[in-house]
Symmetry: C2
Subunit: 138 residues, 2 copies
C-alpha cells in the first residue's frame, strides 16, 4: 500500500530513510540539505509518519533539532516527553540518551544537525516500545 | 516612529539587533536559539525589515542560512544575487565575501549557524550601496 505523504514543511522531503530504517519504528524520510565539506555543518530534514519514532540513542557531539512541521515528541531517558511544534528548537547534549518522533495522530518534520560533526558518533540502543511511546505521548 | 513587525516565521523574533547594527543597513532583529555550550552549535533567527541587508562580510568557518520566512537575497562577490524563500538553505564557504538581506518589498527571516564555531571569526567589510542593492534585486 502506498503512503500518501502530506506537505508539512517548506523543506524537501527527500527519500525513504532506508539507511536508518533499522533504528526507526515506522516510516521516515530523509533529505540531506548541505554538501559543502569545507563548511562541515551537516543538516538534514527528517519526516516521520504518524506514530513513527526512532530508537533510544545518543550522539557523542550532541544534536540540534529544528522543528519545521507537524507535531512530535522528544524524550530524554528518565524525563517526561516534550511536545514539539513548528518553531521549537531542541538542544541535546553530548551522550544524552533520547528519542524523537511524530505524535500518534500527526506527521512531523524536523531539521537536524550535530555538534562536533567531524568527530560525532551515534550510539543506537533499543526501540521505544509501544508501551513507552503510549505513556510518553498521552 | 514604531515599526510594526509582521509575524513571518514560526521562530522567535528576539530583540533589536543592536550588537550588529553597525554592520547592517536598515533594521534587524536577533533571537539566539541555543545556549548549550557543550553542544557548541550556535543558532539564531535573524529578521530583516524590507530593504535591510548586512554589509559585505565573510566567516573563517563559513555559514549556513536556513530561510524560515519572507523573501530575501543572498549574493557572493562577483556573482548574481540569488532570491530566497522559505525552505531554502544557503551554504557559504569559509572566507567567501557575501551579503544577505530582505527584498525591497518584503520582510525576511533566516536561521543562521556557523561552521567551525569554536574558531570562527567574522570579517565585516563595506556596506552594500543602494546602487549595488538595486542592481542585485532587480
Amino acid at each position: 500500500m502506498e503512503t500518501t505523504i502530506p506537505t508539512i514543511s517548506d523543506f524537501p522531503l527527500g527519500e525513504p530513510n532506508t539507511g536508518y530504517a533499522q533504528y526507526f519504528s515506522g516510516k521516515s524520510w530523509l533529505a540531506p540539505l548541505t554538501s559543502n565539506k569545507d563548511l562541515n555543518v551537516p543538516l538534514s530534514n527528517v519526516t516521520f509518519e504518524p506514530g513513527c519514532r526512532n530508537n533510544w540513542h545518543s550522539h557523542t557531539g550532541g544534536q540540534l533539532l529544528i522543528v519545521v512541521g507537524g507535531v512530535g515528541y522528544y524524550q530524554e531517558r528518565g524525563k517526561a516527553a516534550v511536545r514539539l511544534e513548528k518553531g521549537d528548537v531542541v538542544e541535546i547534549g553530548p551522550n544524552i540518551e533520547h528519542w524523537h518522533g511524530a505524535a500518534p495522530d500527526s506527521w512531523f518534520a524536523h531539521l537536524a544537525t550535530n555538534g562536533s560533526p567531524s568527530t560525532n558518533q551515534n550510539t543506537w540502543l533499543e526501540p521505544v516500545s509501544d508501551e513507552e511511546y503510549a505513556a510518553a505521548v498521552k
